[in-house]
């Protein structure tokens, strides 16, 4: 891990010193334990604040389009997939972008830890152990115990698009069943599913952290903000919230790169991922498409072919 | 029980008149339904009200009538959003909601005994009309010195209140100068942008107040002209536009620094604005 950090800093320093980029978008240590925070390094003197570990949970691709000038970005597998889609959708100019690829073993699910230890007062990460000092109790975890749920099913931890690769790559274990979580959800009865989403959506406060943290939610005017026609009211009941969340999930169909940033960003802990995973499974089954893997294969719903399945148009 | 400032009074739209040839500005004449409502709606030139088109929403507009015109109030509104569109399409006789009057007003007391130069551009002429009509009223005319109105639009068809402007031209109690941006057939008055015309025709700054309303770019270029003519920031007033919702200084969006445009404004002197951040 330390050698990765050294190499990231070295690369960033070199890029800035040689004037190849104006800014390096990376992570620095956050103000809270087990929390990294995005940072924008513009001078070679500042590169030593860059870090890399299992707390680097944001998808930095979200910042690329809004950051002026030539930029380098630290990209995990999912970040690089988001960049790929952004390039395909002409949101980012590839030549303005220098991608520092790092393979990612996953990020920590803080909520899982806090559910046991209470609010985290302090923590340290060593190679395999995470030691947490909590308000309720202190506890030691192995990383796999507290790996974010998104990362547990990640099949692309290695960047798919990069200008330089730092550190080694990660081998992806074969998954017996893809989308096991979605299949579980599909196997529930209508009423069970309805009850689940009603409960989840009742927590949503419509702060739009999920939308704003998403690298692929870049619409100039989001449908929820549109007032003619007005798709949604300002209501915060579970029906209105579900309409927002499903609308968003459907707009990401064939585009979502499963970084899980939306679910992690949600201050209310809404299971947003349950919706996007279902859409991703459908897109995979109908179009055999996974977004942001190669430059040639465009997002499934951005292209048309005469043999596209139409299962969603005709009720069979 | 005290008045609930969020509940509008109901008023009747008795006239929906298209003002401009581009059909983008209409003047709505609203009638009070009873004496009590009218008595509670005591206003001064420069104030605004929140107008409700039920089914569409509510938006703030400057009051174009003067308190010297009883029984009704008028608003001249450009078609820009949901509420203004609905109002433009509204049939005469329809009931609308009105909350107000809101905000402060032109300092008519301070202006007493002074000359006034009123400078307006485009459809931002509404509360300026209110002020001119107020001062022209026989009860008030003697309180003020010379009144000069400099009013411009892109072309003749975009001037508001054309009939009234014609009356003012013939009225010795007011000096009206109209201008359009580019020459047009049949137009024999001034041609040129407001700042230029102001430089040519504005009266001396001695004992004079200037009130300027119009698009931001017009205001931006008119202010230096006024300064050159000797107007101090204390002698120049303007009325600001801002996105507003409550109109009560509560909902938090129309602030410039610590001031809320809806409650502490919309009328500010340039001297006051110089003390505030330039975030408007």
């Amino acid at each position: 891990m330390n050698s990765i950090i050294d190499d990231i800093r070295k690369t960033a320093r070199q890029l800035l010193t040689e004037g190849k980029v104006d800014v390096v978008i990376g992570y620095e240590k956050g103000s809270l334990p087990l929390k990294a925070t995005p940072c924008f390094v513009r001078s070679p003197q500042d590169v030593d604040k860059l870090i890399w570990d299992q707390t680097c949970e944001n998808n930095l691709a979200a910042f690329v389009a809004k950051t002026l000038g030539k930029k380098a970005i630290i990209a995990k597998g999912c970040d690089s997939r988001a960049l790929m889609v952004l390039i395909q959708e002409n949101q980012v100019v590839r030549d303005d972008l220098y991608i520092i690829g790092v393979s990612c073993q996953g990020v920590i699910d803080q909520r899982k830890i806090e559910a046991e230890t209470g609010e985290i007062i302090g923590a340290s990460i060593t190679d395999e152990k995470i030691s947490v000092q909590g308000m309720e109790c202190d506890k030691e975890y192995s990383f796999t115990d507290v790996k974010d749920v998104t990362c547990q099913t990640c099949r692309y931890p290695n960047p798919v698009l990069e200008d330089v690769h730092i550190g080694g790559s990660i081998e992806v274990p074969e998954q017996a069943t893809l989308f096991a979580d979605v299949i579980d959800m599909e196997n529930k009865s209508d009423n069970e599913r309805k009850a689940y989403f009603k409960e989840q959506m009742s927590k949503c406060i419509r702060c739009y952290a999920c939308r704003n943290v998403c690298p692929l939610c870049y619409c100039q005017e989001c449908f929820v903000d549109c007032n003619s026609p007005k798709w949604l009211t300002g209501g915060v009941d579970s029906a209105e919230n579900l309409l927002f969340q499903t609308g968003r999930a459907l707009h990401l169909a064939g585009r979502c790169v499963e970084c899980g940033a939306c679910s992690r960003a949600c201050p209310q802990g809404v299971d947003i991922r349950a919706l996007s995973r279902k859409v991703n499974k459908d897109v995979k089954e109908m179009y055999n498409h996974e977004s942001g893997l190669t430059e040639e294969v465009k997002p499934a719903l951005n292209v048309y072919s005469t043999d596209d399945p139409e299962a969603f148009l005709v009720k069979e | 029980m005290e008045q609930n400032p969020y509940i509008p009074i109901t008023m009747k739209l008795i006239k929906n008149l298209c003002e401009t040839e581009d059909k983008l500005v209409n003047t709505f004449t609203l009638q009070f339904l009873n004496k009590e409502d009218e008595e509670n709606f005591k206003y001064m030139p420069g104030q605004f009200a929140e107008l409700s088109a039920y089914g569409h929403g509510e938006a703030p507009f400057g009051i174009a009538t003067s308190p010297t015109e009883p029984g009704i109030i008028k608003f001249s509104v450009a078609k820009v959003g949901c509420v203004s569109n609905a109002l433009h399409l509204m049939e005469e006789g329809t009931m609308v909601g009105v909350r107000g009057p809101m905000g402060n007003y032109y300092p008519m007391e301070t202006f007493k005994g002074k000359n006034l130069v009123i400078i307006g551009g485009g459809f931002a002429f509404t509360t300026l009309r209110s002020m001119a009509v107020y001062m022209l009223d026989e009860k008030h005319r003697a309180d003020y010195g010379d009144i000069t109105v400099i009013y411009g639009a892109r072309n003749p068809g975009l001037l508001l209140y054309k009939e009234e402007l014609a009356e003012w031209e013939a009225n010795p109690k007011i000096n009206l100068i109209t201008t359009i941006d580019r020459p047009a057939e049949g137009w024999n008055k001034h041609v040129g942008f407001i700042p230029t015309i102001v430089g040519e025709v504005a009266p001396s700054a001695v004992d004079t107040y200037a009130v300027v309303c119009g698009p931001p770019v017009m205001i931006k270029y008119t202010l230096p002209v006024l300064e050159k003519l000797g107007f101090t920031p204390e002698q120049i007033y303007t009325s600001l536009e801002m996105r507003m919702k409550c109109g009560l200084g509560i909902c938090g969006r129309c602030n410039i620094g610590p001031k809320y445009v809806c409650k502490d404004g919309p009328v500010f002197s340039m001297a006051q604005l110089k003390e505030l951040p330039s975030e408007y």
Partner: protein, 338 residues
């Protein structure tokens, strides 16, 4: 004076018939304020709620009026409805926030009846914090983890009993019937003293921030502060003092209602004019507004800082924007001498 939790619970349950009682409960793993029917539902030993209790005075979504259109006519109905309410287990930061909200919803000209009718019909039972979270910094905001400011009745949790202080006339009236109050033991008194003298370990210095911000509108500090912000409203919606709102229309055929909903200064649409002009279209301007509103404009208008140090914005921010660091940054910013 103290009362056993058992006796307290009986008195609490007896009030359910007359009052809507809002208290901290666990919902899906989080502590939040909800209406309860019995003291047994109330969560004990919690740090603080995920969302502040402000929604019981200023709901996220509330009908102001409803109307019905018939032809060209319209009938309008005031939708203000208020229940007598007890807000139980309110932490000192949130109790203070209500004093700040009081200043917002009433000014020299207007009084907001929706807020004030609720406020006037609410009784605040505050409770001291026995535990202090690492993100708490209320001790820097004119209160402390055991401040009774803003409470009508103030409790200290002693395990099996509460130490009770009656702060206001409202509190006195509510507790008039309470029997069985007992003296504290020396040991309990010592515990009360310890809790009452506690301070948050995390602190910020706001002693000169208002005066400094007077001179900082054009400071380059704002150029980078906002950079990682996502412009969401997680901070505003979890803040007990944020109070900005939107008013919109909800229509169904010829009937509808006018509603107000929470809004926030972080969203770019917040200040967008009908003309397309937007005075705060940049994130930089919006973060400056957030800081200036809380630590400067609010002080000029209302004599206090609009932050109570609850730390919720720090916990809820998806990119770890930390208002304590933002405050430190202002303190450290160099002013250009002209």
């Amino acid at each position: 004076m103290k009362i056993s939790k058992e006796k307290f619970g009986q008195a609490f349950d007896a009030l359910v018939a007359e009052y809507q009682i809002i208290a901290p409960v666990i919902t899906d793993g989080d502590v939040n304020y909800k209406a309860v029917k019995s003291f047994s539902e109330v969560k004990q030993n919690y740090l603080n709620s995920k969302l502040p209790p402000k929604s019981f005075l200023f709901p996220q979504h509330e009908k102001l009026l409803s109307y019905k259109k018939e032809g060209k006519d319209v009938t309008v109905k005031n939708e203000l409805k208020v229940e007598k309410t007890i807000l139980f287990g309110i932490r000192p930061c949130d109790a203070k926030s209500m004093l700040l909200l009081d200043k917002v919803f009433k000014n020299d000209e207007y009084r907001d009846p929706y807020y004030y009718e609720r406020r006037d019909n609410s009784i605040i039972i505050g409770i001291a914090c026995n535990k202090i979270a690492p993100t708490c910094f209320c001790s820097s905001m004119g209160i402390s983890p055991a401040s009774s400011k803003g409470s009508d009745i103030f409790l200290v949790d002693l395990g099996n009993s509460y130490h009770v202080e009656i702060i206001t006339e409202k509190g006195k009236a509510l507790t008039a019937g309470l029997q069985e109050l007992a003296e504290l033991t020396a040991e309990e008194q010592a515990l009360v003293n310890t809790i009452k003298s506690a301070e948050t370990p995390s602190k910020v210095d706001v002693s000169t921030i208002t005066a400094k911000l007077d001179k900082m509108f054009d400071h380059p500090y704002w150029d980078t502060l906002h950079e990682k912000c996502l412009s969401c409203n997680a901070c505003s919606f979890s803040c007990p003092t944020c109070h900005c709102f939107d008013i919109s229309e909800e229509v169904h055929k010829n009937e509808g209602s006018r509603v107000r909903t929470w809004d926030g200064c972080m969203a770019p649409l917040f200040t967008l004019h009908g003309s397309g002009h937007n005075p705060r279209d940049k994130k930089k301007a919006r973060w400056r507004q957030r800081m200036l509103h809380k630590f400067n404009y609010f002080v000029h208008n209302n004599g206090d800082i609009a932050c109570v140090g609850c730390g919720r914005c720090i916990k809820s921010c998806p990119v770890n924007m930390d208002i304590r660091q933002a405050i430190d940054g202002v303190n450290k910013a160099e002013l250009v001498v002209d």
